[in-house]
């Protein structure tokens, strides 16, 4: 039996306004019901209603609990704190190290890969190809056959990059001897947080797409023996590079930081070139490094990714928060993580990318969605900043208006906007940032991810690029877990 009553002095200001003759109505449902207020003088806004959470009654109850239940204000507050920390982080490129020396928990028998955990048995073609290439590169095997047997034998352990504060594009393979960028948070409460990513190999036949030919292995050696030492010395001379500052400029030059990195790469080149020249005695060696960076439009991707990871690490661990901190794929499964439940994966099947194919390839050649690069969308750029990248709008339908619409749509599922990442064509609005799992469910709208497409067979490489969404299963599972987490954190009900 209820004891709550409304006395005249507790009525809300908006309620007394109802009787003051200024009725402004928002109406959801059968349009005809809105006819009465409309024809009797009220302003009526019609909602194009859709059942939340796919109309599933059980999930809707959970969703209502976390959006409107007694703990909802605390979830909102937790999200505000998580988002504030995400936005306050200042990732800097501080150096280059060798994986085994700098990545926490790295070991000689450990290979890191993209996405949620996966066994050799369940690995897709390109990821297996990358593992084979990694074993050859590390000198653990002399032939493809030997590498395959070794990989299947359990002689190397596999672990997600994300379990070691690292991220990797496509297969995302990190082996112990690979050089990695070191990105460090230089601002906010979580200053000192470090994240890691390998150096980008370029396009075509590359390890991250599962290629392991002589050419691929030779490039990896060049990267380890020439590129990394030269960049490392240059960085030491120049000092740390503010990646957010660089990203902000790149967004105003037509990049979105995932499928287009030409501006970011150029800006990085400008930042590094003088120091490379000064730090390298052998002019030919310096020139080869500059040529390599200049020749690879995606060089900057491997910095935008650990930058995103670094920003999201700042949000991680906020109890009750529904902010999504990881979206990652291993080519078999798609996994997400949520700030309040760090380390817990919620997965579903990796989906096919809807995209454009290089000449000679079709959908039949495509591997399902793969790579940690969706960390860019998670951190509020990539597909979420599509409106900044009119040059690649063919992925979203072809017109610049579609690109702007894509960015606006993502604002519907995010907690805020990153004013540091302004999009000129949207009146310098910040990029949509901080995916709220609850809003994804309420609005039946999945994050949009821009991505490359890998050939399904090992050794072939990239065959196209396009758009993909996470599977609903991952978000549905995360919603269930969040509701449980929130219930566990709620104070016991009064007897």
């Amino acid at each position: 039996m209820s004891t709550s009553t409304v006395s005249t002095n507790t009525l809300n200001a908006s309620t007394s306004v109802l009787l003051d003759g200024r009725l402004e109505v928002v109406h959801a449902g059968i349009d005809a019901v809105a006819e009465a207020p409309r024809s009797t003088g009220a302003t009526v806004t019609l909602v194009d209603f859709e059942p939340p959470s796919g109309g599933d009654p059980r999930r809707m109850t959970l969703l209502s609990e976390v959006l409107s239940g007694p703990m909802a204000p605390e979830i909102d507050a937790a999200n505000a704190r998580a988002l504030a920390r995400l936005l306050a982080s200042r990732p800097h490129l501080v150096g280059i190290g060798i994986a085994r020396d700098v990545i926490p928990g790295m070991a000689e028998d450990l290979f890191l890969h993209a996405g949620p955990p996966v066994t050799w048995e369940r690995m897709c073609g390109p990821m297996r190809g990358a593992v084979i290439g990694g074993l050859l590169h590390e000198g653990r095997a002399k032939s493809v056959e030997e590498a395959t047997t070794l990989a299947a034998s359990g002689a190397v352990r596999f672990d997600p990059c994300h379990h070691h504060d690292a991220v990797g594009p496509m297969a995302g393979l990190v082996t112990p001897s690979m050089p990695v960028f070191i990105v460090e948070d230089r601002g906010g409460e979580r200053a000192g947080t470090r994240t890691f990513c390998t150096l980008n190999e370029g396009l075509g036949k590359v390890l991250r797409y599962g290629a392991f030919s002589e050419e691929v292995l030779a490039r990896l050696e060049f990267m380890r023996d020439t590129l990394a030492p030269v960049l490392s010395a240059a960085l030491a001379l120049r000092g740390p590079i503010d990646l957010k500052h660089l990203m902000a400029q790149a967004l105003q030059m037509g990049d979105e930081g995932h499928n287009r990195n030409r501006a970011g790469t150029s800006l990085l080149f400008r930042e590094l070139a003088p120091a490379i020249v000064r730090a390298t005695e052998d002019r030919e060696r310096a020139a080869r490094v500059l040529e390599f960076v200049n020749g690879n439009d995606h060089f900057y991707l491997n910095l935008s990714m650990p930058m995103g990871k670094c920003m999201l690490k700042a949000a991680e661990g906020e109890s009750l928060s529904s902010l999504v901190t990881v979206m990652a794929r291993n080519g078999t499964d798609f996994g997400i993580q949520v700030a309040s439940m760090p380390g817990r994966w919620f997965t579903g099947p990796a989906l096919q990318v809807r995209g454009l194919y290089f000449p000679g390839f079709t959908e039949a050649d495509a591997n399902p969605d793969i790579g940690d690069s969706a960390i860019t969308e998670t951190a509020g750029f990539g597909g979420f900043a599509m409106g900044a990248a009119p040059a690649i709008v063919q992925f979203v339908g072809g017109s610049a208006e579609d690109a702007l619409a894509a960015t606006r749509a993502m604002r519907r599922i995010t907690l805020g906007a990153n004013s540091g990442f302004a999009i000129p064509a949207l009146g310098f609005a910040g990029t949509p940032t901080g995916i709220d799992l609850r809003l994804v469910e309420e609005r039946n709208l999945l994050p949009q991810i821009n991505t490359g497409i890998a050939h399904r067979d090992p050794g072939v490489g990239q065959v196209g690029a396009g758009l993909v969404n996470p599977p609903w299963e991952a978000f549905h599972a995360a919603l269930e877990a969040l509701a449980e987490h929130v219930r566990a954190a709620a104070p016991p009900p009064r007897a």
Binding site: V25, H27, P37, A405, N444, L445
Partner: protein, 515 residues
């Protein structure tokens, strides 16, 4: 016979739209049956039970529209696809593609609509019951009061919503709230009545409509009419919103007297509310439908009918009392041959539930016992015995179709069935006008009555209709009444008067038959 199941993914449509699609596809030549439904579990089961292939229904979700069709030939089905495309043209359907929508166009959620319109102060909800509580909670999250038209909301959800609203000083009018008038703005089914000094709080939609129209006929206006939902005075809900509404009216400077109307209040709630009413600081008249008059108790007047309640309020605000309307009229119809007096009876077919209750009460007072059939009546089966009172707005009659105030199809079938039954001598009906109701109901009602009478081989059928309408209603109340009168239908200005008139007609008929 060929069947076809079409699934349109991510194509959510409201029930009104689905009915329209079903109707229009059924009109395609050669199509014998067309059903458009959203792919909820219940609907999928229904269609499978109706013989549509399970496998084709299996993948559909509540966000997908299913169109199930039967036709005389496969060729007929070919044209249906194009017809469906035409019907759906212009309706955004991008749920599944999950991306490039938004930007311009209608907001897709209440939360977003309120962000875009921060001055909006009321959220009106008419979504299917399954989703209604979710949406109403989202309005409360944003600090807005709710007009909850949807029905089929659980009592637990209702209590949770109202408790939350109470804690925040907001109103939740509903669920199953048919009517409200706030500062002259109508919500749901509402009549265009003048503004004035009488404030109404009501757990009954047609009760509010009848009161406001009766006052309108007396030239007395309404300050506000706050609907609270049909279950607000149940023990579980404990009159939470009735009390909130009363508190609002108590301090509203325009409101000089207060009317409260409800069906069957729980005793404990009525007792508690009495204390609130007695201390309200303004004159109060109460009409608990189905209950006898109790006069003034601690200054609170408990009226015996809606007419009496309206009259009492009019007196409070100093309006000239209306002359008593004579309840008896001369029957125009003679007796039918071969009828024995025992078979002469009355059937009441109502669109407004409260009006049905009011009529029953008046008939009982005139010594006429009536029955509310336990089973849903069908136009194709014989009517059960006795004097019948039927609320065709009841859930049993409105599944998958609009309210009888909007769509008279079901009531017309029953009127014809009553006409075909020669023992039925008096037909008692209501006609509710105003915004939200049928745009021009009288011609259709008249043609039903004409058809019903035509099937009786010259045996007469007396018809009494109460018209609930204001002078400014869009249908033209005077015109509607005139159309009815010209068809030889008795027109009364309230359900109580109509019932009294019908009650007076029946014994006359009986006497004549006996003679």
């Amino acid at each position: 016979m060929s069947t076809l199941v079409l699934v349109r993914p991510g194509c959510y449509q409201d029930s009104a739209r689905l009915m329209q699609v079903s109707r229009e596809l059924a009109a395609v030549p050669g199509v014998t049956e067309a059903v458009a439904m959203m792919g909820t579990e219940t609907n999928r089961r229904l269609l499978a039970d109706a013989g549509f292939p399970k496998a084709e229904l299996a993948g559909a979700t509540p966000l997908d529209m299913i169109v199930a069709l039967r036709a005389q030939s496969p060729e007929a089905l070919d044209t249906v696809q194009a017809a469906l495309d035409g019907l759906l043209a212009g309706r955004g359907a991008s749920v599944a593609s999950g991306g490039v929508a938004a930007g311009g166009g209608r907001p897709r959620t209440v939360a977003e609509a309120l962000e875009a319109h921060p001055d909006a102060n009321l959220v009106s909800v008419a979504v299917p019951g399954l989703y209604a509580a979710f949406v109403a909670h989202r309005a409360l999250d944003a600090g807005r009061s709710v007009f909850l038209f949807s029905d089929n909301v659980s009592i637990a959800d209702e209590v949770a919503l109202k408790r939350r609203a109470s804690d925040r000083g907001l109103l939740v009018m509903g669920p199953d709230c048919g009517t409200a008038i706030l500062s002259g703005v109508g919500l749901g089914f509402a009549n265009r009545v003048e503004r004035g000094p009488v404030g109404i709080v009501g757990a009954s939609g047609t009760g509010i409509q009848e009161l406001s129209c009766l006052l309108d006929r007396k030239g007395v206006g309404i300050s506000h009419a706050i609907g609270t939902g049909s279950r607000d005075l149940s023990e579980a809900v404990d009159g939470m919103m009735t009390e909130a509404g009363l508190a609002l009216l108590a301090r509203d400077p325009e409101t000089r007297c207060v009317l409260l109307v409800a069906k069957h209040p729980a005793e404990s709630v009525a007792r508690r509310l009495h204390v609130v009413l007695a201390k309200l600081g303004k004159p109060v008249t109460v009409r608990y439908l189905g209950e006898p008059a109790r006069g003034a108790v601690d200054g609170v007047v408990y009226a015996g009918s809606l007419d009496e309640a309206a009259e009492s309020a009019a007196k409070w605000v100093g309006a000239r009392p209306s002359p008593e309307v004579a309840a008896s009229v001369e029957p125009e119809e003679g007796p039918g041959p071969g009828q024995s007096s025992g078979q002469v009876r009355l059937v009441g077919l109502f669109g407004g539930g409260s009006l049905a209750a009011e009529a029953r009460c008046v008939l009982a007072a005139s010594g006429l016992e009536t029955v509310v059939p336990a089973e849903k009546l069908s136009g194709h089966a014989p009517l059960p015995p006795g004097n019948l009172i039927v609320d065709t707005g009841d859930d049993a009659y409105t599944v998958g179709r609009p309210h009888p105030m909007v769509d008279q199809t079901v009531r017309c079938e029953l009127i014809r069935a009553a006409g075909a039954d020669l023992s039925v001598r008096v037909l008692l009906l209501d006609l509710v006008l105003g915004d939200g109701a049928h745009p021009d109901p009288a011609p259709e009602l008249v043609s039903c009555v004409v058809a019903a009478r035509a099937a009786r081989g010259g045996r007469p059928l007396a018809v009494v209709v109460s018209v609930c309408g204001s002078r400014r209603d869009p249908q033209g109340t005077a015109r509607q009444e005139d159309l009815l009168r010209r068809a030889g239908i008795h027109v009364a200005s309230s359900a109580a008067l109509a019932a009294a008139e019908a009650a007076a007609l029946l014994p006359r008929v009986r006497e004549e038959v006996a003679r």
